[in-house]
C-alpha cells in the first residue's frame, strides 16, 4: 500500500472505532454497579452517599450488589488489615472484567492514621491496581461523588483497541497473599 492509502485505511478504522467506543463507553459508565463492601468508618459515608441527601442513583449506581460476580467497581472503604487483605484480593479476582478499584479514605490509600502498625496494610495499592484515589478521613459524600465523576471521565477515555481485558498477554489476576507467622507473604516469595 502507498502511504496515502495506508493513512486513509487507518483513519477509516479509527473512525469506526471511535463511534463504537463512544457507544460502548456510554453504556458502561452510565451504569457502574459498585460492590457493597464496607470495611470501616468510610463505609458509613458511602452509605450516606447512597441515601437520599447525596443520592448516587442519579449516576446510575444505585444497584449495590453484594456479590462480586455481578459488580463492576470495588470501593475499598476503610482500613485494610493484614487479616483481611487475602479476602479483599480474592474478591477482586472473582469480579468479571471490565472492573475498577476506587480507594476511598486515607486508610485505603496509604494506611492513614494507622500506618506502620503491626496489623495494618499501608494502602491497598500494595496488592491491587487502583484507578481512583479519594482522600479524606472520612471523605465527605460530595468528595466521593467527585471521585465517581473522575472514574466516569476515565472510562470515557478508554478505547477497545488498547483495553487490557481483551488482550491475552496482560495478567489481570492478582496473587492472593498468605498469612505468615509475622505478616503477609506473597506466594512464591520467602521471608525477608
Amino acid at each position: 500500500m502507498t502511504e496515502e492509502e495506508h493513512i486513509a485505511e487507518q483513519i477509516r478504522r479509527n473512525v469506526i472505532i471511535t463511534t463504537i467506543d463512544k457507544i460502548y463507553n456510554w453504556g458502561r459508565r452510565s451504569s457502574v454497579w459498585p460492590m457493597g463492601f464496607g470495611l470501616a468508618c468510610c463505609a458509613f459515608e458511602m452509605i450516606c452517599a447512597a441515601a437520599s441527601r447525596f443520592d448516587f442513583a442519579r449516576f446510575g449506581m444505585e444497584m449495590m450488589r453484594p456479590t462480586p460476580r455481578q459488580a463492576d467497581l470495588l470501593i475499598v472503604s476503610g482500613t485494610v488489615t493484614k487479616k483481611m487483605a487475602p479476602q479483599v484480593v480474592r474478591l477482586y479476582d472473582q469480579m468479571p472484567e471490565p472492573k475498577y478499584v476506587l480507594a476511598m479514605g486515607a486508610c485505603a490509600i496509604s494506611g492513614g492514621p494507622f500506618k506502620d502498625t503491626y496489623n495494618a496494610v499501608n494502602g491497598i495499592d500494595t496488592y491491587l491496581p487502583v484507578d481512583v484515589y479519594v482522600p479524606g478521613c472520612p471523605p465527605r459524600p460530595e468528595a466521593l461523588l467527585e471521585g465517581f465523576i473522575k472514574l466516569h471521565q476515565m472510562i470515557e477515555g478508554q478505547t477497545i483497541l488498547t483495553s487490557p481485558w481483551y488482550r491475552k498477554e496482560v495478567e489481570r489476576e492478582m496473587p492472593v497473599p498468605i498469612l505468615g507467622p509475622r505478616g503477609l507473604v506473597l506466594p512464591g516469595e520467602g521471608h525477608e
Binding site: 496509604s110 496489623n119 499501608n122 500494595t126 505478616g183 503477609l184 507473604v185
Partner: protein, 155 residues
C-alpha cells in the same frame, strides 16, 4: 466501701495474703493460687455478680491481671482485684466458670499479652490469626511488627 469488703475477706480467709492498695481507685491484691476461692466467695456471698473488665499490664518486673467487679444491687464503685504473674511463665487461673463473660476477655489478654489462663475452655488467639508469632502489647514488641512485605515495597 472497698475497705469493708477487704475486712470481711481477711476474716474469711485468714491464711491467704491479701493486701489493700490505696489510690484513686483502691484495690485488693491477691496471689494467683488463692484467686479462684476469693473470687467465688465474692460472687456467691458478697453479691458481686457483674465482671466488667479483665486487663493485663506489662510492668518491668512482673505481669499483672486486673479485674473490675461490680454488684448489681449495691451502690456504685468497682471492687478491683490485682493478681501478679511472673515474667518467665505467666499463668493465672481462669474465672470463666464463675463469670462466663470473662471468656473473650481472657482470650484477648492471652493473644495480646501472652498470659495463660489455666482452666479456660478454649484458649486460642482471637484478634490476630492462628500461627502468628509474638504478643504485640508487650513492651519489647515494636509497633511496626517484625516483617511485612507491603512496607518494604511501598516505602
Amino acid at each position: 466501701m472497698s475497705r469493708e469488703v477487704y475486712e470481711r475477706l481477711v476474716e474469711e480467709f485468714p491464711e491467704t495474703s491479701l493486701e489493700y492498695l490505696e489510690g484513686k481507685d483502691p484495690a485488693i491484691s491477691v496471689k494467683a493460687d488463692d484467686l479462684f476461692e476469693v473470687a467465688r466467695h465474692l460472687k456467691e456471698k458478697q453479691g458481686y455478680d457483674y465482671l466488667s473488665a479483665v486487663t493485663g499490664v506489662d510492668y518491668p518486673d512482673r505481669f499483672e491481671v486486673i479485674y473490675h467487679l461490680y454488684s448489681m444491687k449495691e451502690g456504685p464503685g468497682p471492687l478491683i482485684l490485682k493478681v501478679s504473674a511472673s515474667k518467665e511463665q505467666p499463668e493465672v487461673p481462669s474465672l470463666v466458670s464463675l463469670w462466663p463473660g470473662a471468656n473473650f476477655q481472657e482470650r484477648e489478654v492471652y493473644d495480646l499479652m501472652g498470659i495463660r489462663f489455666a482452666g479456660h475452655p478454649d484458649l486460642k488467639r482471637i484478634l490476630l490469626w492462628e500461627g502468628y508469632e509474638g504478643h504485640p502489647l508487650r513492651k519489647d514488641f515494636p509497633i511496626e511488627g517484625y516483617q511485612t512485605i507491603g512496607q518494604e515495597e511501598s516505602s
